[in-house]
Amino acid sequence: MEDIEHIEKEMKLINADGRRLDGRKADELRPVRIEAGVLRRADGSAYMEWGGNKVLAAVYGPREAHPRHLQDPARALVQCRYNMAPFSVSDRKRPGPDRRSVEISKVISEAFSAVVFKEQFPRTSVDIFIEVLQADAGTRCAGLTAASVALADAGVPMRDLVTSCASGKIDGVVCVDLNKEEDNFGDADCPMAIVPRTGEIVLLQMDGHLTYDEFQKAMEMSIAATHRLYELQRDALRRRYSTTLEDIMKESPPAPAAPMSESESPLPPEDDFGPEGI
């Protein structure tokens, strides 16, 4: 009985050609789009669509840390708040933090603490806000990747961008970037974040069941994917700061964006998204 169920599940998540439900290969990312500098009040911001995820990230600071007893006389605090909008999931989420979002906020704060030059801004805080507007598994990876662009957009000094991706196992096959069904019915999920230039791993979580070999395969897939994402992050920042003077003279909105990136990344065309900009 259990075996039959298992076979049925296998049929469902990965087909005979090794393709996933949404047609992706095991090492293929969902479509990704990043825009930098999308909010007016925040010091830095970014919007990201990653598969069915829509996330917004904003950065304030360095600013005076409140309450004052939290101030560190030697360095800035890096504080992240990850939050899901009530309408971002199929069953309405009650507003406010829950244990999951508190944990995610903590590990993301720590990941960014590893790259920000905190000593330049004693007694301040760098506040990072991540809002999940529409969730489709992998929201912490999308939030972190977007927040990294927002930090750079805010002009916060840092060693490098941070880039995040997850890999996991579905029906016994190691795959990168699980979507919601794959996450719900899969066997393991392993989100990570890396400093792409140096290879330092600054976030790592795992749940489920992986052999040591599978873990290595998953990490290799994630690392390869973060290199592609890193280029998209950099491209978003370049586009943000490369509008021409003619555009501004006409007072037109920020440039309609150059082609995504010239790297031979195997991303599907990004035509299934809504209108440009946020």
Binding site: V89, E131, Q134
Partner: protein, 259 residues
């Protein structure tokens, strides 16, 4: 919304301009900022809209679920509106439970929708006294650049108009659009000393002595009002404000209705 200081110098500058009918951003006194609406922004919600009023940017998502009616209204659906002033939107917003500002805001938006009978709530009754549709309007403020009352109301009205009730999911027949029958439009006026400005910008709002929100329907009838802040209005001013709200409302309504 803790106070941010506005210098005496800027107060004087804004007032001097306003005295000659001008505003810092180039508008005339009774001119709202540009409004744009993007519908169905969030696929996880049954209805949604992104509303940008100038640089004020909000996202509204509407979730529908089945639940019990209130005992005193056994034949009507339930409407619940909340606003989250998330710290992303302004350096003055802090995380935490809703404060009086966001509760007032949610209630004023809710009142305009409820009192105008925008949605026919009786058609949202499934079994009297037992089962009705519950609408959760969740308003997420993303970028705060003044006048949340109107921006939130426009977003909520546009989002409601895009709702498809997921009846099929709960075996209650075919999905159907929300029965929308009226179109309330909220118009907020701020008073700076003796001068009235429509759709206050952030700076204008921060130095305003008094504020009033008037929601009118397609007949120009008044459906909700809220006066705020510690200043006051003369009765003549209130009448002028209502007439402006009717006129501005007529200009805004087609933007909310068009899909």
């Amino acid at each position: 919304m803790s106070e941010e200081i506005v210098s005496e110098l800027m107060r004087a500058h804004v007032y001097r301009l306003a005295s000659s009918g001008q505003r810092v951003d180039g508008r005339v006194l009774d001119e709202p900022r540009k409004l744009s609406i993007e519908r169905s922004f969030v696929k996880t919600a049954e209805g949604s809209a992104r509303a940008k009023l100038g640089n004020t940017d909000i996202l509204v998502g509407i979730k529908m679920s089945v639940g019990e009616p209130y005992p005193d209204t056994p034949n009507t659906g339930v409407l619940s509106t909340s606003v989250e002033l998330i710290p992303m939107a302004s350096p003055t917003f802090e995380a935490g439970p809703p404060r009086p500002d966001s509760i007032e805001l949610a209630r004023v938006v809710d009142r305009g929708i409820r009192e105008s009978k925008m949605v026919n709530m009786e058609k949202l009754c499934i079994t009297p006294k037992e089962k009705v549709w519950i609408m959760f309007i969740d308003i997420h403020v993303l970028d705060y650049d003044g006048n949340l009352f109107d921006a939130c109301s426009y977003g909520a009205v546009a989002a409601l108009a895009s709702v498809v009730v997921p009846a099929k999911n709960v075996n209650l027949g075919e999905n159907f659009p929300l029965p929308v029958e009226h179109w309330p439009v909220s118009v907020t006026t701020a008073k700076i000393k003796d001068i009235l400005v429509v759709d206050p910008s952030l700076d204008e709002e921060r130095m305003a002595d008094a504020r009033i929100t008037v929601t009118t329907d397609e007949n120009g009838d008044i459906r909700a009002m809220q006066k705020g802040l510690s200043g006051s209005f003369s009765y003549d001013e209130v009448k002028r404000i209502i007439e402006t709200a009717q006129r501005v409302g007529r200009a805004i309504r087609p933007i909310l209705r068009s899909s």
